[in-house]
Structure formats: structure tokens, C-alpha cells
């Protein structure tokens, strides 16, 4: 097994899927010659040509909408939004169109498009290059939202998203791109969309999170293990629709649950996770469900002081985990 970075897992998944199926193609801003501003599509233009690695005009609604049209025809488009923050002009296409095409046509049409977008902060990206946007889309039946944390999950889930017959939003943490490395098998594999994954077995407290925060929780858990606190960590991987069984099982296991996200606190994914736990796990709980999240301010400011104040980090997670363990 090779050790690769999070972004290399993206590139490998795209490349292998394009080789496997001629109907798979990539479209977006700067994805062609430049290979993407983060280099996620690096090398694809040279290998597959400009017709399958399409540099589009700078217009996000068209990137989504043209992709949706191609998908309805029978292609497998992978559209890139350069930053998750810039997905907003495409929201009508994603929510009014992609999410509802199968339903509104009574299963006559479908839109198997994958829309990739780098999200998340801690990169001096300020208000419009740092946002987490999953909550915008997480009450739209018809959509699936995948937010992987490791190279292994990225590769297996991106392949699964491309092969899925429904629209998938695939959010990649931009700080994880080169920070996170991990083992990935050489052979072809996919991972199930809609299934959470236990990233650490433990018996004292449960942390449920996703994306880069999974790594913060894992780091904190190693430290707390030295103090005799044994954390169970569940990585949601798919944040919509949620893996209810996985959440209930993980919450019931320890009875003390901390939910972590770097998104704003109110109305986010973890609020829904909390609701699932309160509906199903009341008699298994030994402490109130805790949420650790970004503050309810519009987004992450540019200045390092304010950015750090907003951004999640291992210390914040560790403190919240210790407080919960001591409850």
C-alpha cells in the first residue's frame, strides 16, 4: 500500500474513473491546462485532452447546470467548484434541479453528477475562501453530501460518488489536501456512501465529527489516553443523509457524546446528529450532548488572531473531550 496525500487521492480517483469509463469527464474553472488552482486535476488534461478536462467560462451556475444536462443525457460529469464559497451562484441548479430531477420526473430522468468543492478554514482564506457550506444543502432530499477525512476515504468515496446514480456533493477540506497523508490500496475499491466509520474504538466518551476535525479528535484522543480517558471516534463521512444507525450505536456505546464541526454552531450538521441522539438514546446518555463548533459569525476573518479564534484545533477539541469525560 502506498502512502499518498489527501489531494493525491482526489487526483488518483478522478484519473482511474476516467480510465475506467469514457463517460466520466471533468469540468470547472482552471481544471484543464492549469490542473486546478489546488492541482486536484493535475495531469488529467495531458492524459485525457481538453474535451474531457474542460476549462469552462467563469460561471458556476453553468458549471453545475451544464453538468446536470450532460448527466441527464447519460454522461458522468465531475464538476469542480473552485472554492465551496463560490458554489452559491449554482445553488438553484443544485437544489431546484439536481436534487429533484429523479423525484419530479417520477423516476424517468436522473442526474448522476458529482460536484467537488474545497471547503474549510485555517489557510488564511478569510471570509470567502474558508467556509463550510454543507448545512446549506443538508435538508435537500435527493442530494448526498460526502465529506471524507482520510486519503483512503477520499479515494473510495469519490469513486463511489462518480458511480452513484444520483447527484453527490463532495466536499474536500482544503487544509487537509497536503497536510493529511495515509495508506491507500493499489487495487480498485469503493466505499459505501451513507455509512459512518469508527476511526477509533473507545469506551469513555464518543466524539462524532467529520472532515479535518476527525484528525483533531484523533490527536486529542491520543493525549487523553495518557490520562486514562478512552475516546470512541465516529467519522460521519457522509453528512447527508446521515447514518442514523451508526450514530445511535456510537452514542449509546459510551453515553457521553461530543459533536464537533468547524462550521457555525447553529443549524448545522451536528445539530441534526444531536436531534437523532436525543430521539433515540435518552436512556443511554450519561451527560448532555455537547456541541463544539465555530462561533455564529458569518465566516472566518483574515487576521490570524481572529481566524484562530474561529478555527477548530486539537486543543479546543481536547478540552471539550476532557470536560465531557469529567462530567
Amino acid at each position: 500500500m502506498a502512502v499518498i496525500s489527501y489531494i493525491q487521492a482526489v487526483t488518483q480517483a478522478l484519473k482511474e474513473e476516467m480510465k475506467r469509463d469514457e463517460k466520466v469527464f471533468v469540468l470547472g474553472e482552471d481544471v484543464g491546462k492549469r490542473g486546478g488552482v489546488f492541482r486536484a486535476t493535475d495531469g488529467l488534461y495531458d492524459e485525457f485532452g481538453e474535451d474531457r478536462v474542460l476549462d469552462t467560462p467563469l460561471a458556476e451556475s453553468a458549471i453545475a447546470g451544464v453538468g446536470i444536462g450532460a448527466a441527464m443525457y447519460g454522461m458522468r460529469p465531475v464538476a469542480e467548484m473552485q472554492f465551496a464559497d463560490f458554489i452559491m451562484p449554482a445553488v438553484n441548479q443544485i437544489i431546484s434541479e439536481a436534487a429533484k430531477i429523479r423525484y419530479r420526473s417520477n423516476n424517468d430522468w436522473s442526474a448522476p453528477i458529482t460536484i467537488r468543492a474545497p471547503y474549510g478554514g485555517g489557510v488564511h482564506g478569510a471570509l470567502y475562501h474558508s467556509q463550510s457550506v454543507e448545512a446549506v444543502f443538508a435538508n435537500q432530499p435527493g442530494l448526498k453530501i460526502v465529506m471524507p477525512s482520510t486519503p483512503y476515504d477520499v479515494k473510495g468515496l469519490l469513486k463511489a460518488s462518480i458511480r452513484d446514480n444520483d447527484p453527490v456533493l463532495f466536499f474536500e477540506h482544503k487544509r487537509a489536501y497536503r497536510l493529511i497523508k495515509g495508506e491507500v490500496p493499489d487495487e480498485d475499491y469503493t466505499l459505501p456512501i451513507g455509512k459512518a466509520d469508527v476511526k477509533r474504538e473507545g469506551s469513555d466518551i464518543t466524539v462524532i465529527t467529520y472532515g479535518l476535525c476527525v484528525h483533531f479528535a484523533l490527536q486529542a484522543a491520543e493525549k487523553l489516553a495518557e490520562e486514562g480517558i478512552d475516546a470512541h471516534i465516529l467519522d460521519l463521512r457522509t453528512v447527508y443523509p446521515l447514518d442514523k444507525e451508526g450514530i445511535i450505536e456510537a452514542a449509546s456505546k459510551t453515553g457521553k457524546v461530543l459533536l464537533v464541526t468547524e462550521d457555525n454552531k447553529e443549524g448545522g450538521i451536528i445539530s441534526e446528529v444531536s436531534a437523532i441522539i436525543s430521539e433515540n438514546c435518552l436512556f443511554d446518555l450519561d451527560a448532555p450532548v455537547q456541541r463544539l463548533a465555530g462561533p455564529d459569525i458569518p465566516s472566518m476573518p483574515y487576521a490570524p488572531t481572529m481566524e484562530k479564534h474561529f478555527m477548530m484545533n486539537p486543543d479546543k477539541v481536547e478540552k471539550a473531550m476532557r470536560d465531557l469525560a469529567e462530567f
Binding site: 469552462t56 460561471a59 453553468a62 451544464v66 446536470i68 444536462g69 441527464m72 438553484n92 441548479q93 423525484y103
Partner: protein, 330 residues
Amino acid sequence: MAENRHKALGLSDDQVLDMFRTMLLARRIDERMWLLNRAGKIPFVISCQGQEAAQVGASYALDREKDYALPYYRDMGVVLSFGMTAQDLMLSGFAKAEDPNSGGRQMPGHFGQKKNRIVTGSSPVTTQVPHAVGIALAGKMEKKDFVSLVTFGEGSSNQGDFHEGANFAGVHKLPVIFMVENNKYAISVPVSKQLACEKVSDRAIGYGMPGFTVDGNDPLAVYEAVKEAADRGRNGEGPTLIETVSYRLTPHSSDDDDRTYREREEVDEAKKKDSIVTFAQYLRDTGVLTDEKEKEMNDEISEIVNEATDYAENAAYAEAESAMKYVYEE
């Protein structure tokens, strides 16, 4: 005998009669739906009346065995031309389970039928424009020679998706026909408050494509323009913007009252140019439509509409629990 314009376009007498029949069928289904609405039998109608010539003229200029149609909510003439039936449309009007557009999930006018390459649509206007571009892009990638026809109103030509889609098609030289059915009103707002330019087709130059404005009451003029656009598309010469100018003869929908914003005289004046009247006259003047044929056609259509209405009225609704189906692939 009047000048025969259709022969010059390569259209036989039978073909123009068939075009007229489809226009008339659309009109009669539409009129029946209004009656059903006013009788309290169906909740909603949104009309094609006044735009049948543009819709049918454009559709007949295409290869209806392989080209794609992305209609908007008034396009009964387009979907009938592409193979949808009166019964299908009535099933949609009554929101019955057998409705091929949506199984009774969407309001009438939200067309879609994959087997006839009529692409499913929604209510937010103009979202279908980028879809038409995507379908044309897919066709180019797959080395097919079909074109996509996407239609929308003049008000919709102000939406970002029109601009983004038209520009994309222009840059990538895709075989898309953008057809604006300019019926002079976006609900209550007249075209003078929608556009600062004189014609919608003036916008074409911004997307590197030719733009034409034609008489939307003349199916032959529309046929000719769309035929040329389709040829351009198939030859790899890219997209075309066509504006068909006619008039919306009904209120916006069954829930609108157009007396609150336009004068009756204006509507009456427009009715003199109604293509159902003027094209019939052309066909009589050229000796194509005889009294006998006209009666036969009227009787046949009347029977089709009656049968479709009866069938749809008596058809079953979808089971309540079926609302849970097809959110995702099953």
C-alpha cells in the same frame, strides 16, 4: 391562389396540414383545460394560446427522432410535436398516476418524457438553458449529430442561467437552439420593462452567435429559422438565438386576471393575428385546406380531446405513500 411559401421550404401539403393539426390540437386541449379549471375539475392551467405557431414551427424543423427538446411551461405545441399525446397532457392536468411527465407530482406545464427526449423541467425559470447546453456538449463528446432546442420567455432572457448557458454554448460551439418565445408579457410586466435593447435577439452578438427575430404567428417563418439553426448546429457552427414574436392570448395562468394590467383592445387586436386563424387562412388560400378537410380535422380533434378528458378524469391518483418513492435510485 396565394403564393405557396411552404413548397419553397421543402414542405409538402401533407406536412403543413400536419403542422396545422398539431397547432389546433394544442389549442383545443388548452381550451378544454380552461373549461375544466373553471368547472372546478382541475386546479391549474397555464396556456400555450398564441404561441402554437412558434412551438410547432420550431419542432417540425427538427429531427423529432433524435433531437432533444427542453421546453418551458407554455410549450404544449412542442411536446405534442415530440410525441406526447392529448391523453398524456390531460393525465397531467388531472394529476393522475399515469401522467408520464411526473406521475402527478408536478403542476401541469412541467413537461418531461424521456422516451421522446423531452427533458424534465421545474418552475424556477430558465434553469433548463444550461441543461440544453450540457446535453449538446454530451452529444458532441459522443460524436452524435443531434441538436437541442431550448425555449423560454422573453422575461427569462434576463436570468443569469440564460447568459451563462448561452455564453458556454457560444464558447464551445455547441449545437443548441435558444428560442425565446416573446409573448410580450412576463405575467403583468410588459417587454418594455424587461429589455433595454430593442429585441431579445440583439443579445446574440454578446455570445458570438447569430440572432434572429421572426414572426411567431407564422409557423413557416419559424420553421425556416429553426431549420437553418439546426443545420448550423449539425455542421459544427455552434448555437443560434431565435426570438419568435407573438402574443399571450390568455392571462398568465388560471390564477391571473390580465384585465388588471392590459387593455381589452390590445388583446382583441392580437387575436386578429392569431396563428390558428391566419395559418388556416393561408392553407385555404393555397388550396391545402378544404372545407371538408377542416371539418374532418375538427371532428377528429374534438373526439381526441373528449376521449383524453374522460380517460384522465377516470384514471387513478397515485397512492398516497408513493410520495415517498424515487427520492434516490431504488
